[in-house]
């Protein structure tokens, strides 16, 4: 049964409490848990980080709402802590990065197929193909730096081949802005999609910026630097599709509703019972947050929240491999480029973007360097070389016999 945002009131805010022990729980298993459990952990961390970021922005602009925002925000802070802590310390930073890109590809692909607005669906497909290429570059780096197979993280759900080459993804800022949806006409799911992907990409950008200095290798530092630059473009792209005419309270309402929607999607599909219980708890808490936002909206805007929110939640985001869709889009749209707010063939790209990246790439492209001649093979590229040797050896033995 679908959840109703106005009837299911969740846990009241004053009963939302944690202990430090609850905030730091045993992590998921990198080896045994399903990759989509990790995908959900990373996605929901991104949602909570956006909740905190938005709340601070809103508080800085609206004195009279600072107390309710602070009351909600500390709970969001603790939810973010609890969720982000589910990643085990046996993930190297690059392994976590591989997982971040899997989130970007699989979740954006699911959203793109479910988005009713054709222009916005195109925006998602465009971004997805770029993240798809990042996965290939980071996989090459993981293989060539740590000697590890990215597929240990991906678990065969996501392909590891080049997408739209990162080297051509760098664009002049005017080519990163998109048309926004119309807040009065857009379907509720359109608003939820936009917030979900924007939050996820924002989290990715912050993560890459923060972790780059953790590596000693300047090659890895450059790689994160180059891809973080694209993630900044992606955040710019995705925040521009959100109607800027929405009021602060309208945005607040949508943020809370979107967290409910995302946790609801997680609850429906989680395979690890312990993690599912965490999603259920967070869902309950977010319904409580939504109630606060609904009351604020009624009190200050004197509007009906039903003007902004759907009653029943839309179908959950599908957490499953989108391989066929991604391959089709890769085949059909890899040569697209952005020009202003529109998508054009690479032959029609604007001169500003070409000049912009010509300078950036003048001393070489880290994403090209790390993936030079890289073809993914199960067990790393060394295993491919090993297989060739083994074949030779086996043939030799046969001949000897």
């Amino acid at each position: 049964m679908a959840l109703n945002l106005f009837e299911d009131k969740g846990c009241p805010l004053d009963r939302q409490r944690f202990t430090w022990k609850e905030l730091v729980q045993p992590p998921i298993s990198k080896l045994d848990d399903d990759a989509f459990t990790r995908v959900r952990v990373i996605l929901m961390n991104g949602m909570e980080m956006e909740a905190i970021r938005f709340s601070h922005g809103c508080a800085r602009m609206n004195r009279e709402w600072q107390l309710p925002l602070a009351q909600l925000r500390i709970v969001e802070q603790h939810q973010a802590t609890m969720i982000n802590g589910l990643l085990g310390a046996d993930h190297s930073t690059l392994e976590t990065t591989i997982a971040y890109e899997q989130v970007a590809i699989e979740v954006t692909a699911a959203v793109a197929q479910n988005e009713p607005d054709e222009y916005l669906a195109q925006v998602y497909r465009f971004g997805m193909l770029e993240d798809f290429d990042h996965l290939y570059r980071y996989s090459a780096m993981l293989d060539r730096l740590e000697g590890k197979d990215a597929n240990n993280i991906l678990q065969c759900y996501t392909d590891i081949v080049p997408g739209r080459p990162t080297i051509v993804e760098h664009r002049a800022p005017q080519d990163n802005l998109r048309e926004h949806y119309d807040r009065l006409r857009a379907a509720p799911i359109t608003k939820l999609h936009a917030l979900t992907i924007m939050s996820s990409e924002q989290q990715t950008q912050n993560f890459y910026l923060n972790v780059a200095p953790m590596y000693a290798d300047p090659v890895v530092r450059q790689l994160y630097t180059e891809i973080a630059s694209i993630e900044e473009q992606h955040v710019t792209q995705y925040e521009s599709i959100i109607d800027p005419r929405e009021t602060w309270l309208e945005k607040w309402l949508l943020h809370e509703a979107n967290e409910v929607y995302n946790y609801y999607s997680c609850v429906q599909q989680e395979t690890n019972p312990r993690i599912k219980a965490i999603w259920e708890r967070c869902l309950d808490y977010e319904l409580g947050h939504l109630q606060v936002a609904i009351e604020m909206f009624k009190q200050y805007e004197r509007r009906d929240p039903a003007e902004v929110l759907p009653g029943d939640l839309p179908e959950p985001i599908k957490f499953e491999s989108q391989r066929e869709f991604v391959r089709r889009i890769l085949n059909q749209e890899v040569d697209l480029r952005a020009r202003g707010t529109q998508f054009v063939n690479k032959s029609q790209e604007g001169v500003e973007s070409q000049q912009y990246r010509q300078h950036l790439n003048a001393s070489g492209s880290p994403t090209n360097t790390v993936a030079a001649g890289y073809e993914w093979f199960a067990g790393t590229e060394l295993a491919r070389d090993g297989e060739a040797t083994r074949e030779k050896y086996v043939r030799g033995q046969k001949i000897a016999h």
């Binding site: 290429d133 080459p165 090209n368």
Partner: protein, 242 residues
Amino acid sequence: MDKTTVLGKNRSGVDISPIDIKQMMSLAKVTPASSPGDEKAIAQMREEYIAEADVIGSVPLPGTLKGMASTAMEKLMGKSPEGFIDKLGCRLAFERTGVRLYDALITKCSTAPMSSNISLDRLNEFRNEEFQHFKLVENAIRSIGADPTAQTPSADVDGVISLGLIQVLTDPRTSVAHCLEAMLTAELADNDGWRMLIMLAEKMGMEDMARDFQQALREEDEHLVSIRQWFKEMVIKDTVGT
């Protein structure tokens, strides 16, 4: 003793996804790399940075060089005391971290269900010996007028090397055997570290210091033998069952 290695639904390999892996491999095989070359491109970029790199840090100037006289320091004159101070600082940091590693190991062994030959008393002894070794090196550094609170470049590098060991020892999910493997790495390196330091002390003309260090090495030898033995027994028990 409970088994530390269990059979389960490890999903990281390809055999768990026989259909998907075929699809992944067939696409990867027909998709060429996006740019030519190989991993040598990475080496080239590293070389450029190496050519431009500065040192990781310096050894602080000993107080005696600034005017304070000491007989020990006089012996070092004419040689390169900074190299010696660097290695003394490295040993000091390693022993200090060693105490913390043993603290974590003792906690792990105290809580893990096991009936092995590991003696908590022995572990506590080792822990306290690491502490004594730290004090020993601290005094040695002071005796030549250098600052034992400063982090030297080799100490810094050793700290980076030890990071993985600390992660293993403090992860609640790791087994005693995993932790012993980490400790074995630490003790092997520690053992060689002491041998190096003794050799340096002798060559620097610090005979008394070298003698003190010999005693520490004898204790470190015992640590190594015990850790190695416990680790071996545990792995055999876990694998062969006897």
